[in-house]
Subunit: 295 residues, 2 copies
DNA sequence: TCTCTAGGCTCAGATTTACTATGCCTAGCT
DNA sequence: AGCTAGGCATAGTAAATCTGAGCCTAGAGA
């Protein structure tokens, strides 16, 4: 038995630290990085500090209102990002190799329920051998890093525009009968989504007639847009409809648009596709989804 | 306060698992991977298993005498290796950016002490602003992954040959007086290094005269070659000298070579240099080391 | 000027992850 | 038959990572 008493090998920095730093640097803040990594900002701060301790240099300049990359940080970021992109790509290759017929879609909860879900049966029928799973997320994932193949979110760029986002009030037919003019809105509950609270404002601004609705619209607020839609269908009030999300209900007549005025938002429903090689099932699915868009 | 009760985001595989798999796949065995990663083979086995569980597919075929990559494993390995190479490169960039004048050399303990160490004072004098650190390792590190800039080990390829490896007996002058012929070796202790035990055999084989030395040479065995050299200098016996490692002592006369027969091994002292961009100090150091080699 | 808010820091404790140690098993050698 | 190399499984342990709470600073708004 040979006892080799050698000093501990110098080790590279923990990968976790590198990941935290990369995310913080790329997104420009610990809080944003924490969001992407699904941890608390404190955890990111600790990891970054650990990395700074490892290399003995500050990677960020701390200001009270946020952090800015230091000179060294700027130098180092590109190669690190490249490395993590390569890692994401490798994981993607692994997923493709182990489950070629599996496609994982991420979408805004409302989009998943009101836009994607109604289309899935037809898609599943057309692509019988593809296993489609859907995860609802509040914010679009980083497709280069996280294990999703597609994303469907509202946004302005970074993908293929599937539908414009037009907004206009919608309600159940019996509620519509009470609404002759825009001023009548003051007499019915105005439903609102928790994150799309300014929809009413946006639609009303530029209206010919000044309407007395207070900016934060009075009326129930829902954390899930799909829930608000459901309530509107049940006659609970008037909701600002997003064209892509209420189209089905307009067709079926469950909802009607009492006013003709429509406002097109600068953003739209955007389909994001994972970079790198695409499996045949994924290609087929993307084509199906795109063919839905009539722009 | 919005309570968003969303299902847990699907997460990618733990990076540690990927690293363990990559090493095991590249080196063709859990034990070898464990060596490179400085953990026990059991740890590697666990990580690999975790990864296989994550993707639901076996990455290795287990045979009792080792493992072989499965089809999927073969498909996945290249992109993973590329990712970890990119990660190593990123760490290297980080080290260069944070400590431009620092060079880290790894070498076999014997090489570090007997070849490198005597040269360092002159090098430090010539390159005053370079901070050189040396780590002794039993096996050459993976320069693309571990935080070393240079390696000096005995080997056959993978780098620049600095010196051939000639072996021949050496001893203190007073011991040499007892050695007229090769047969006299039977009458003195034959020192040996723990890992280079077959040096004697190699040197003796092909000798004109058959010598009665048993294959595992009788005599003290040292776990550190430098220690054996020290003992030889002190007159404890005859040691098989490696040209690069005993040159200084031969010059000073502390050791002499009692026999003229020399055997050149197929391997040699090889200088490994980290890939990627080289800092000016590193370039200068490499040039100095190479200029030592008179081949 | 005061307060509020966003973003970051730190520390202690909890939790999760990773590793070691041990014993067992198999196939190929000698 | 006995030995060795390499892998597997399990339990306990060590280390890494995360959370949670309270504190701090600078800018924005009243």
């Amino acid at each position: 038995m040979i006892m080799s008493v050698l000093p501990p090998r110098p080790k590279g920095p923990p990968i976790t630290s590198l990941r935290a730093f990369e995310a913080a640097a790329r997104l420009g803040g610990f809080t944003r990085a924490a969001d992407e990594l699904c941890v608390t900002p404190g955890a990111v701060a600790q990891q970054v500090k650990a990395l700074e301790a490892w290399c003995g240099v500050d990677l960020f300049e701390r200001h009270a209102q946020g952090v800015r990359l230091s000179r060294v940080g700027v130098e180092v970021l590109p190669s690190l990002s490249a490395a993590f992109d390569a890692m994401g790509e490798a994981v993607s290759v692994l997923r493709r190799a182990t489950a070629p017929g599996r496609v994982h879609i991420s979408a805004l909860p409302a989009v998943a329920q009101l836009w994607l879900s109604p289309r899935l049966p037809a898609i599943r029928a057309a692509l019988a051998d593809v296993e489609i799973s859907v995860t609802a997320l509040e914010a679009p994932p980083n497709l280069a890093r996280e294990p999703f193949d597609l994303s469907v979110f509202y946004g302005e760029g970074d993908g293929r525009l599937i539908a414009r986002d037009e907004i206009f009030p919608v309600c159940a037919p019996e509620v519509a009968r009470q609404l002759q003019s825009i001023e009548d809105l003051a007499n019915v509950p105005c439903l609102a989504d928790a994150v799309w609270t300014q929809d009413w404002e946006t639609w009303l601004s530029g209206c010919a007639t000044q309407v007395p609705l207070p900016a934060p619209v009075r009326g129930p607020v829902y954390s899930l847009y799909a829930l608000a839609v459901e309530e509107a269908v049940n006659g609970a009030g008037v909701l600002i409809g997003h064209s892509a999300l209420v189209a089905r209900h307009l067709e079926s007549g469950a909802l009607v648009a009492p006013f003709s005025r429509r406002v097109t938002l600068p953003r739209g429903l955007v389909l994001g596709v994972r970079g790198g090689e695409m499996s045949p099932p994924l290609t087929a699915l993307v084509n199906l989804l795109i063919s839905e868009s009539r722009l």
